[in-house]
């Protein structure tokens, strides 16, 4: 099974809109939403079954046992993440779980063994499984560790032995840990760029990030008619970088309507859907 990952650098360029359309067009039997801290693919994929839910445990977090603590303050002074604070009202040291990265330094240096690292539920992995496999997750607010969850979501999809040529993965914006975790191991990346000064700057940064992984990369432009001059620039940039430019998608009010009814843009007849159809025809022979 080959994996195609949809990325963009900049947020809101249309990753999920394009990824969901490609899933329909390619009849992909496996797909995943790796944008774990703002997932949306579930809204347009017409799941017909209840998901199998598994608790996700991220990094264990420090817990201070007050009855043992002698309030020496060493944990607070050694914590590099400012995660330990002294509560003046009840005169105790407390761990801010939103800031704790679970490194274990406080547990190591506590002279009276009052601190232990404990695993907490940081979210839920969801697996929809009928004739298709759809892996996604929900991160619990305030828990943070999204890179690790991205890896788990992909693994959950890959472990299902399903007979399909292509798996499509919806990625997250940015270039940091969730994106790096999502690129690792995929066969193809499709970048959905936006023809604006911001979009071009962000596209250049995601292309540099992806090129570090040596993954075959395609580029398309969404809302191309917002600025055709920049669309031409993006096409030129892709060619200079020897990346395949695979098409232009127009701004389309019908796309908003389709999405808001829980449909992909190829479930209805609309200009943006037809454009993604052409993009699919272009890339399918190269996969």
């Amino acid at each position: 099974m080959k994996q195609l990952l949809v990325l963009s650098g900049k947020g809101g360029t249309g990753k999920t809109t394009v990824a969901s359309a490609l899933i329909q067009l390619s009849h992909a039997k496996a797909f995943a939403d790796c944008d774990v801290d703002a997932p949306n693919l579930d809204l347009v994929m017409h799941q017909r079954c209840e998901p199998i839910k598994t608790d996700y445990f991220g990094m264990p977090k420090a817990i201070i046992h007050e009855e043992v603590c002698i309030e020496c303050g060493q944990c607070q002074s050694q914590c590099r993440f400012d995660a330990i604070t002294y509560n003046q009202f009840n005169e105790t040291y407390q761990v801010n779980l939103n800031a704790c990265e679970g490194c274990g330094v406080c547990e190591l240096i506590c002279p009276v063994d009052a601190i232990h690292l404990e695993s907490l539920v940081d979210g839920q992995m969801l697996l929809y499984k009928d004739e298709r496999v759809f892996s996604t997750a929900k991160l619990k607010m305030g828990s943070g560790t999204s890179g690790m969850l991205v890896t788990r979501v992909k693994k959950q999809m890959m472990e299902e032995e399903i007979d399909t040529n292509i798996a499509i993965i919806d990625g997250s914006p940015g270039i940091g840990c969730p994106v790096i975790a999502s690129i690792s191991g995929v066969d193809y990346v499709l970048i959905v760029a936006e023809p604006s000064l911001s979009g071009i700057s962000d596209m250049e940064r995601i292309i540099s990030t992806a090129s570090g992984f040596g993954v075959k990369t395609f580029v398309c432009v969404n809302k191309y008619d917002v600025n055709t001059e920049y669309t031409d620039k993006i096409e030129g940039y892709a060619k200079r970088k020897h990346l395949e430019f695979v098409g232009r998608i127009p701004y389309d009010v019908e796309a908003v309507k389709a999405i808001n009814q829980g449909n992909t843009i190829v479930d209805i007849d609309c200009a943006s859907g037809r454009a993604v159809g052409q993009i699919y025809e272009t890339i399918k022979n190269k996969l």
Binding site: K10, D37, L43, E101, T145, S172, G174, L197, N260
Partner: protein
């Protein structure tokens, strides 16, 4: 006063709103905390006055002192250390700079060195002090850059506008944790609404007062607006979708500096926020 602009979903108009709020104020600081993809500077085009590197600590192994006991490897919860060819190898990409290995080493064979992961550019654009955090390509976490950015504007006297990254994970929490008020920007799709509900939960968790700006409004049912009404969230502003605005923004134009309609619109939103913060402050005390 610190105002953070966030959205969960990307591309809803965080930067558009943050930039224009800063530019219609008499004086403001704009902090671009979207360090993976910073864009505010493309619109403000500040004259850069200085650049400071952002550094984190990385372990450095003294090979002569190291006895190969591997206590550091056992300690490291991020699997950033390994014993390869009779020496300790550091995987810098996954190191969280906690310093635990230096503490646990019985031979004092581990010290730390600074590693640059990005930079902060500071400059001026008319009435706006601009600070941009930029993460180096290939680095996993921009959290230390956001920390340094926010600390650099610690004074509470002036208006600070924080442009947060998309999502709801650690880097977003770091960006908003000291904010006096959060503005959630939402677009009129079910995608925008699902992600609005996530950041709504986040600001409730952090107990920060907040309001919603509806962006890219079209002439039909707006699920984000329905969400706000259902949850009794105050809508502090509405921006209609306009091809002209999209085109101007695509070219990096700061609309409140060139267009009186937008100047008035953003000024109204800013005044509303200032009122809400004043109200929150008095009702708390």
């Amino acid at each position: 006063m610190k105002i953070a602009v966030l959205s969960g979903k990307g591309g809803t108009g965080k930067t558009l709103l943050a930039l224009n709020l800063a530019s219609v104020a008499d004086k403001a600081s704009y902090l671009d905390c979207d360090v993976e993809e910073p864009n505010g500077h493309l619109f403000l085009k500040p004259k850069i006055q200085f650049v400071e590197p952002v550094e984190v600590k990385m372990p450095r192994i003294n090979e002569e002192k190291c006895t190969g006991c591997r206590k550091c490897i056992d300690f490291c919860r991020f699997n950033a250390l390994a014993y390869v060819n009779h020496s300790i190898k550091v995987f810098e990409d996954v190191c969280h700079s906690c310093g635990g290995c230096t503490l646990v080493c019985p031979e004092n064979a581990i010290t730390e060195r600074n590693k640059t992961i990005g930079k902060i550019e500071k400059g001026l654009s008319e009435n706006v002090k601009v600070s941009t955090g930029i993460l180096n390509i290939g680095e996993a976490s921009g959290v230390p850059i956001v920390k340094q950015l926010i600390e650099s504007e610690a004074s509470n006297d002036e208006l600070v506008i924080i442009d947060a990254p998309p999502g709801s994970a650690c880097i977003v929490m770091e960006s908003i944790k000291d904010a006096d008020y959060c503005v959630l920007v939402a677009e009129p799709t079910i995608f925008g609404t699902q992600n609005l509900s996530m950041v709504h939960e986040l600001v409730e968790l952090f107990k920060i007062p907040f309001g919603v700006v509806l962006n890219k409004c079209l002439n039909h049912d707006n699920p984000a607006e329905n969400y706000c009404n259902d949850h009794k969230i105050s809508i502090i502003g509405k921006i209609d979708y306009s091809q002209e605005l999209a085109a101007l923004s695509s070219r990096g134009e700061l609309v409140s500096r060139t267009n009186t309609h937008y100047q008035t619109l953003f000024k109204t939103i800013l005044n509303r926020i200032v009122e809400e913060v004043a109200y929150e402050t008095t009702s708390r005390t």
